[in-house]
Structure formats: structure tokens, C-alpha cells
């Protein structure tokens, strides 16, 4: 019964508590506003810290999302298999890694979880058109399945078909960036270019995919792998190939099957390391995700040091403020303020101060992201809402943590001493 009455009484006082908190906030804002410069300098640390949190997190997130969507854009059920000499001195004693078209055909034929394969030759080439010459452009020699496997289609002209691949004809498909650098438009389709001094007919243009980590995917030449082999015959025994699994769930099956086939064909004994590598986008994704979390936490750790410094600044100024306003504290106490009233007044002031700093920091963070996003090569940046909440929460927390000592100091001042203070 008593407890109930106490509860009812406590509830009756809630409006009073809210009102006094609101009063404290107003007092704090007045105090901050009347010491504009000092307040600004005080919260500068917090502002910088929060600005860094927002911009760093947003950019890391932006890059992260970009990489993720890029990796997904590669095709979710794709793998790349490439010959790889065993690393370290061990590799020196083994025979050189080899991968032949027969290996690829065997995988295509016997691996049931594999939908299709596409041999690929990676190299760089010089392309000439008219008086323009581009050096070191990525060239892929592949087959007609490149488009579906890589999820990378032409949107002008056509891609080469099985007939072109069989014939090893001089046809090529160009990326948009190559087109731009050659200073020509879509009318180039049907025209001839020179790739490493060989005449090639341009039959199609790839859709634009944008750049990835400074590596422009649109700066690419695609030709039939048979044609590439004619130009670069030493690549014959070092082919890589794309593998597309039946579906995403079949990726592990497909991998197991192709590993077994290749090990058998290459005569690798049980327990010996393979002489080929497999690039899978989901593994990369996982690895990338881990890296991203580590990067974010390291950056957050660095940033939290600046938050700490900002908090110390607030504590310092609050201590000064308490000393300066000792008489005010004495007056407040003499007209009936309890210790907790004084405590909450100064604590509120510290929290309001640091939260205002946090707010300014958030605005600046947004501004920095906005400005950074204007750079053409920049990835798309979105400020994640959780980082805003985190920044606000942290700055308020810093206010409480570093405000408690000055506030406590204010609360325990004896009213007589306070009123006598000069």
C-alpha cells in the first residue's frame, strides 16, 4: 500500500521533473550562447571527433557497399580458375603450373555442377584507331559465354559467337572507356582498329560498368580466345578459365568436382598443394567484410581518442565555469536548490554542450561527404543513420562522463563558502 502510494506520488512528480530538466536545458543553452567563443572552442574537440566519425564511417561504408555490389555484379555463381605455381621454395622443385584447353574441356564435360566454362587469357595490349594510340589496355581473350558468366553484356552491336571463336577471327568488343579515350563514338562499330598491330573489326560495345578501386572495368578489349592465342601463343599452356556453377548453391559442388578433375589430370598426389588457384567472389566478400570491420574499428579507435580529448576539453571548461559561477551556486542553494539540482544543472550543461558539438560535427560530416561525393571518381557515399546515432550517443556520453566531476564539485560546494566567494 505504501509502495503504491510512493509510486503514485513519484508519477505525480514526473511533470515537475520534466519541467525542471527543460529548465536546465534552457539555462544551459543561455549559458552556452552567452559564451559563444568559449563554448565553440570547448566543443571543437568534439566537433572534430564527430566530423571524423561521420565522414570516415560513411566513406568506409561507401567503399564497402561499392566493393560488395561490384563483387555481386561479377555474377554470384562464378569462379575463376587460374594456373598458379606453388608459393615459396617448394614451388621451385615442382613442375611449372600448367592449364590447357583440354583441362578446361574436361571440367566442362565431367563436372556435373558446372553449367559452362569460358577460357580466358589476360594480357595488356596497345590499341590504335586513326591517329589515337592507347598503350597497356586490358585485353581478355575469351569465348561466347563471357557475357552470361561475367554478367557483362554489350549494348551496341553484338558479341562474338561460337563461329567467331572457332574461326579465331579478328573481331573485338570494346569497353566504353576505350571508346572515350580513342575519341570516337558508337559509329566505331563495324570499323577497324589495330590491336598490337593486328587489324580487328569492332563488332560491339560493352555496357558501362564504372570503375572499381581506380581500376576502370570499362577500359577493356574483349576478343575470342582463339584469336588471342594466335597473337600470344606462349599462353597456350597457361590458360585461366571462368566457371559458372548451375546455381549459387552448387558452387561448393562445382568447386569440389573441378578440383578433383584438375588434380587428377595434373597428377598431383594426395596431400600435395595444387598448381592452380580459385577465385570465388563469396570468399572474397567474406574476406572483404572482415577487412572492412577491422578497418572500421581501427578508425573508430583512433577517432575515439579525439573524442576523449574533446571530453577533457569539456571537463576543463566546466571546471572553470563552476569556479566562475560559485556565487551563483551559493545563491541557488540559499533559495532552496538541493545538491542534485545543482548536479543536474551542470551535468545538463555539459551534456548539452557536447551534444551541440556533436550536432555541429554531424552537419560538418555530412558536408564533407557531400563535397567528397562531388569528385567524379568517388564512390557513392551515404551517411549511415547508425553512425549519426552513434556519434550523438557518444558525444552525449562524453558529456556525462566528463561533466560528472565538475558537476559533482559544484554540487558539494558549501553555500556559505559559495556566497562568500569573490
Amino acid at each position: 500500500m505504501k509502495a503504491l502510494r510512493a509510486l503514485v506520488n513519484a508519477l505525480l512528480f514526473i511533470p515537475d521533473r520534466v519541467a525542471s530538466l527543460a529548465g536546465n536545458v534552457v539555462t544551459a543553452l543561455v549559458q552556452i550562447w552567452s559564451n559563444k567563443i568559449r563554448s565553440l572552442l570547448t566543443v571543437l574537440g568534439i566537433i572534430i571527433a564527430v566530423t571524423s566519425i561521420i565522414s570516415v564511417v560513411s566513406m568506409v561504408e561507401g567503399f564497402g557497399n561499392y566493393v560488395t555490389s561490384f563483387l555481386r555484379g561479377l555474377g554470384t555463381n562464378m569462379m575463376v580458375v587460374y594456373p598458379e605455381r606453388v608459393r615459396g621454395p617448394m614451388g621451385e622443385y615442382l613442375r611449372p603450373a600448367e592449364m590447357t584447353i583440354e583441362d578446361i574441356q574436361a571440367v566442362d564435360r565431367y563436372a556435373t555442377a558446372v553449367r559452362r566454362t569460358s577460357p580466358v587469357i589476360f594480357t595488356r595490349a596497345t590499341i590504335e584507331y586513326g591517329r589515337q594510340q592507347l598503350i597497356g589496355i586490358d585485353l581478355r581473350g575469351t569465348n561466347e559465354f563471357f557475357q552470361p558468366i561475367r554478367n557483362f553484356y554489350v549494348d551496341a552491336g553484338r558479341f562474338f559467337g561460337a563461329v567467331d571463336v572457332d574461326a579465331g577471327g579478328p573481331v573485338c568488343v570494346l569497353g566504353r572507356e576505350v571508346l572515350r579515350k580513342l575519341e570516337c563514338d558508337e559509329s566505331v562499330v563495324g570499323d577497324f582498329v589495330h590491336i598490337d598491330s593486328q587489324r580487328f573489326r569492332v563488332i560491339g560495345l560493352l555496357q558501362s560498368k564504372g570503375s572499381f578501386m581506380g581500376d576502370n572495368q570499362d577500359e577493356m578489349i574483349v576478343i575470342p580466345w582463339t584469336s588471342a592465342l594466335k597473337m600470344y601463343p606462349y599462353r597456350r599452356n597457361y590458360l585461366a578459365f571462368y566457371v559458372e556453377a548451375m546455381n549459387e548453391e552448387k558452387i561448393p559442388d562445382a568447386e569440389g568436382q573441378l578440383v578433383r578433375i584438375l588434380r587428377q589430370r595434373h597428377g598431383i598426389k594426395k596431400g600435395d598443394p595444387p598448381d592452380f588457384g580459385i577465385f570465388k567472389q563469396d570468399e572474397i566478400l567474406k574476406e572483404f567484410h572482415t577487412t572492412r570491420v577491422i578497418a572500421t574499428s581501427v578508425l573508430a579507435g583512433i577517432v575515439s581518442i579525439s573524442l576523449l580529448v574533446g571530453g577533457i576539453g569539456i571537463m576543463n571548461v566546466m571546471l572553470v565555469s563552476v569556479t566562475e559561477r560559485t556565487r551563483e551556486i551559493g545563491l541557488r542553494k540559499s533559495v532552496g536548490a538541493h545538491r542534485r539540482d545543482i548536479l543536474s544543472q551542470f551535468l545538463t550543461e555539459a551534456v548539452v554542450l557536447s551534444t551541440v558539438g556533436g550536432g555541429i560535427g554531424i552537419a560538418l560530416g555530412y558536408a564533407i561527404c557531400y563535397i567528397a561525393a562531388m569528385h567524379p571518381n568517388m564512390v557513392e557515399i551515404n551517411v549511415p543513420i547508425w553512425s549519426v546515432a552513434l556519434a550523438l550517443g557518444f558525444s552525449a556520453g562524453v558529456g556525462i562522463f566528463f561533466g560528472i566531476i565538475p558537476a559533482f564539485k559544484a554540487a558539494i560546494i558549501h553555500p556559505i563558502d559559495a556566497l562568500r566567494h569573490e
Binding site: L12, D16, S20, S34, S334, G336, D341
Partner: protein
């Protein structure tokens, strides 16, 4: 814990009820229990290794509607007396009863509540909050005691000191006399049992000081109990009773200590004698 909460809550309630009683409801308390009763009060401070005896066995009774001046040279103990009377400090030994309640052993929290509800301070240097309006300054004690209808009560108090037109001015837009009137309104707002004025005219010129004393006089005429700490004979002469302290003891008290304020008994002469040794 629940008991404590109940006590707190009911304390607040009681406080509110008392505060909301109309002033006319008070009995003319001459002959009844005193508002203030000090019994054999001692206050000892330690300054470094030395003990300072600020009050040495002071006993005093002040009744409802008395108008008393506490005088004395510096070091006589009058500040200590004021601090104890104002519940800013507690005596080392002895008993202080305020309206019958022994407040000499209370905790800081309880003392704060008594300061807020039962005591109105007026200081020499006004002690107004510089960045808020006169009205907000007057509301301050009401806010700390969580009184209802603060604004209305603060406005009434400002009206009482004839400063209603300055309610929304800040202290730096007010003259010294006006500031002290705001301070008086602040002391009045809670309708306290006693008003303690510490050198209320000390920072004012004589004309303004007289105005302030006129206001205090009129408050006393309406039934307010007022204690003024001063070293000016002229001000003490306006009060019905003079209490002179020396070395922590009362050496002169023109009141009889248990009843009528004696404005008309020619205490002036006695003060004059005491003042000129």
C-alpha cells in the same frame, strides 16, 4: 525506502498547503510559540590548527511579525548567526527551532528544503542571475521547491515591490534599487516564515537604501517576520528590536524575548549608548 519516499512526498504536500494558505490565516502570534528559538547555541570553527568560537552560548527567541536588527562588529559572530538562522549552516551544539521544528541537526538536503520554503534571503549584493529576467529570478526559489503557479506567484511578488513593469528586464537593465527590489520579491515569492536581510542597503546610496527599508517596513506592517543584519544604527533604529553581538554572545537585546515587539520603548537610546563605548 518507501517510507522515505512517502515522507518526502508528504513533506512536499504539506509545504504546498502551508504555502498556499492566505496570509490572513495566520494568527497574530504574540504570546504564542516563537518563530525562531535559539537555545545555548555554540559554533566553533577550525581555522588551521586554531579553534575559533564564533558563537558562545547564544539564546534568542524571535516571534511572529518581529522586526529585529542584528548588529555587531566584524568578528562578533553576526554572520555565523545569520548563516545558522538561514539554515545555511548548523550549530556545533545547542538547539535551533524554526516554527517549533528542531533544525539544528538536519542533513544538507533537508536544510535545502527549509531554505526554499521557510526562509527568504536578501543579500547586500543582490545576487541576481544576470542572464535571466527579473521574473525568472523571482521564480527561482519556486522552481526549486517545485511550487505550482510559479509565474503567477512571481508576478504577485513583483507587484508587491512595485516592479511589475520591469518583470521582463534583465538585471543589467535595472538600477541598484530595482535590483534589490527584485531580490526582495524573490525572497517574498515563497511566503517564507522569516526574511533574512544581510546588509540590504550596503550597496545602495542613502535615498535608494531608504526606499528599500520602506518596503521592508511595509512588509513587516503586513505581518512578515524580518531579521536585518546591519552595522548602520539608522537602519537598526527602524527595527523594533536590536540584538547586538560581541565575541559570539548577545550583549544587548532591546526585545524582551517572549512577546511584543517594542518599537515604542525608546530602544534607540540604548543602541546609541551601546554604539558609542
Amino acid at each position: 525506502m518507501t517510507d522515505a519516499a512517502n515522507n518526502v512526498a508528504s513533506g512536499f504536500r504539506a509545504g504546498r498547503d502551508v504555502a498556499s494558505e492566505p496570509r490572513t490565516g495566520r494568527l497574530p502570534s504574540v504570546g504564542t510559540d516563537p518563530v525562531i528559538e535559539l537555545i545555548d547555541l555554540y559554533k566553533t570553527y577550525r581555522v588551521g590548527t586554531e579553534l575559533v568560537h564564533a558563537l558562545r552560548g547564544t539564546s534568542l527567541r524571535i516571534h511572529e511579525n518581529e522586526y529585529a536588527a542584528i548588529m555587531g562588529a566584524s568578528g562578533s559572530g553576526k554572520s555565523t548567526m545569520l548563516n545558522i538562522l538561514g539554515c545555511l549552516d548548523v550549530p556545533t551544539s545547542g538547539i535551533y527551532r524554526l516554527r517549533g521544528q528542531d533544525v539544528s541537526r538536519l542533513s544538507q538536503t533537508k536544510l535545502a528544503r527549509i531554505r526554499g520554503r521557510q526562509i527568504g534571503f536578501i543579500f547586500q549584493s543582490f545576487e541576481l542571475l544576470g542572464r535571466t529576467t527579473a521574473l525568472k529570478n523571482v521564480e527561482l526559489p519556486l522552481a526549486y521547491t517545485r511550487t505550482r503557479h510559479r509565474r503567477q506567484r512571481a508576478l504577485e511578488a513583483l507587484k508587491r515591490v512595485n516592479l511589475l513593469d520591469r518583470a521582463h528586464h534583465r538585471p543589467n537593465q535595472l538600477s541598484g534599487g530595482q535590483k534589490q527590489r527584485v531580490a526582495i520579491a524573490r525572497a517574498l515569492a515563497q511566503q517564507p516564515d522569516i526574511i533574512l536581510a544581510d546588509e540590504p542597503t550596503g550597496n545602495l546610496d542613502s535615498t535608494t537604501g531608504k526606499e528599500i527599508m520602506d518596503i521592508l517596513d511595509s512588509l513587516q506592517a503586513e505581518g512578515q517576520t524580518i531579521i536585518v543584519v546591519t552595522h548602520e544604527d539608522e537602519i537598526a533604529r527602524r527595527c523594533g528590536r536590536t540584538i547586538r553581538l560581541k565575541d559570539g554572545q548577545i550583549v544587548l537585546d532591546t526585545g524582551n524575548g517572549d512577546g511584543h515587539p517594542r518599537r515604542d520603548e525608546g530602544g534607540t537610546d540604548a543602541i546609541g549608548e551601546a554604539a558609542t563605548p
